[in-house]
Amino acid sequence: MQKRLLLNKKHLDITISRLCHELIENHLPFENTVLIGLQPKGVFVAERIKSKLEEIIKKPIELGYLDITFYRDDFRRRDEPLKPNETRVPFIIEDKNVILIDDVLYTGRSVKSAMDAMSAFGRPSKVEFLTLIDRIHSRHIPIEANYIGKQVNTVLSQKVLVELTEQGKKEDKIWLIDKSK
């Protein structure tokens, strides 16, 4: 197994900061925009984005957590049922601009499930998608991100491993793992 570091703490901070400025370009003053992090790891990325945005624009931004377990299309195709996480969307998304946030975009199925799950909370005006890592050339369905931290060309035997301090890791590190080597 071979591991290649894609982002370290410094590069992750720069990436988060750059993504925030891209969001500011399109959403300032954020009056009608909310963030929704996808459980489990997208939530950590979303919290960092929220925190950085609030630091820059000096006003609070609403953040929700969305769990997609019950909306996945691979239920019963896995060895065992997935354990759900908390969903907490404490605001109305009707007619809002929603920015869905996840750590890695791979096949696109999670994002599709997230949009299904989100529709249980209302009809947003516009939905955008932000991902920290975009695994290009690996999509199963036609979904693309609006905001991308880093694009990586990967093959099936490779995996992106996101390690963040929020998960109890010592340091932020995002790895590309090649199981075939």
Binding site: Y71, K83, T87
Partner: protein
């Protein structure tokens, strides 16, 4: 662990404590779902469930049907009355005919104890026992324990009194198993004629003084007098039962403590429980009904993960 240790839910006796905790954790998420504006998730959209009720039921059947529909399963309902069962068809033949229609799961209520266990040995579909005679009613026990946990927190060390017609109850046995697995202490209270002799061997306290039971417990689960199952007279009159074993406000007020009141329904108002107790703030009877849907959704979701 994110799957149950069994492909069927035949009773609480066969579940592990971890199974019960997993069902509760999953039910927490479904409770959130059923309180949203859109109460439905697509998890079981390719599953067909047959509710096979050989015995009358209102709330259990409705609760299961709602749980199934909120999981997006296809649902068919079967009632023994007006069916070929009346023409002499056997249980196995009836169920095999239903399964031939490509049904994946069976939710079954039957008047004979062990009927779902028998069925589980002969068919491949997942079976959920929705009450087998006076034996077990596992989803009722799960929703009861879930409702208790919601009101008083962890059940470890808590005192729960099960009061009333124990001998005819399928809820009592499942409750005892579930509560003991979760670390609660269980006391049984009722007229000696309505308490089976074997119960004390399960490690539960048995008393026939309602005041003693209420003074001891944190939670009172009051069961219905099942007159329809009583072929002989187990007590002189309903009035006398109500006088000695009925839970009323005056009795509760005299205790100098607050206890949580539960009842699996349907209630014989004025017999085992008075209206001012059933409708009081200490009662979680309607929470039990709400939690029934979430708990049954959790059970069906977790079992459906095993459907091949």
């Amino acid at each position: 662990m994110s799957h149950l240790s069994s492909k069927h839910l035949l009773g609480i006796k066969n579940l592990t404590k971890e199974d019960i905790q997993l069902i509760f954790e999953t039910a927490d998420n479904f409770k959130d779902v059923i309180n949203r504006p859109i109460k439905k998730v697509p998890s079981l959209r390719d599953i067909t469930i047959a509710n096979v009720f050989f015995e009358n039921s209102t709330r259990t059947k409705l609760s299961f049907e709602l749980a199934e529909k909120r999981l997006s399963a296809d649902v068919i309902n079967f009632s023994a009355s007006g069916s070929s069962v009346k023409k002499g068809e056997t249980l196995l033949d009836t169920v095999n005919n239903i399964l031939a229609m490509k049904v994946d799961m069976i939710v079954m209520r039957h008047s004979s104890p062990g009927a779902p266990h028998f069925l589980s040995k002969h068919i491949n579909a997942n079976i959920v026992n929705a009450g087998d005679g006076t034996h077990e009613h596992p989803t009722q026990a799960l929703l009861d324990a879930y409702s208790m946990r919601e009101r008083v927190g962890d059940l470890e060390g808590k005192n729960v009194a099960i009061i009333g017609d124990i001998v005819h109850s399928r809820v009592a046995l499942s409750n005892i198993f579930a509560l003991q697995k979760l670390g609660a202490n269980v006391m049984i209270c009722g007229p000696a004629t309505l308490i089976p002799k074997y119960l004390s061997s399960f490690g539960v306290k048995v008393v026939s003084d309602i005041r003693q039971a209420l003074e001891w417990c944190d939670i009172a689960n009051i069961l219905r007098i099942q007159l329809e199952r009583q072929q002989i007279k187990y007590f002189p009159s309903l009035r006398e039962y109500s006088l000695y074993f009925g839970v009323n406000k005056k009795l509760l007020d005299s205790l100098n403590k607050e206890i949580v009141i539960m009842h699996p329904g349907p209630i014989n108002r004025g017999v085992e429980i008075t209206s001012d107790v059933a409708d009081s703030q200490h009662s979680i009877i309607l929470d039990q009904v709400e939690n029934g849907v979430a708990t049954r959704m959790a059970v069906l979701y977790l079992l459906a993960g095993n459907v091949s």
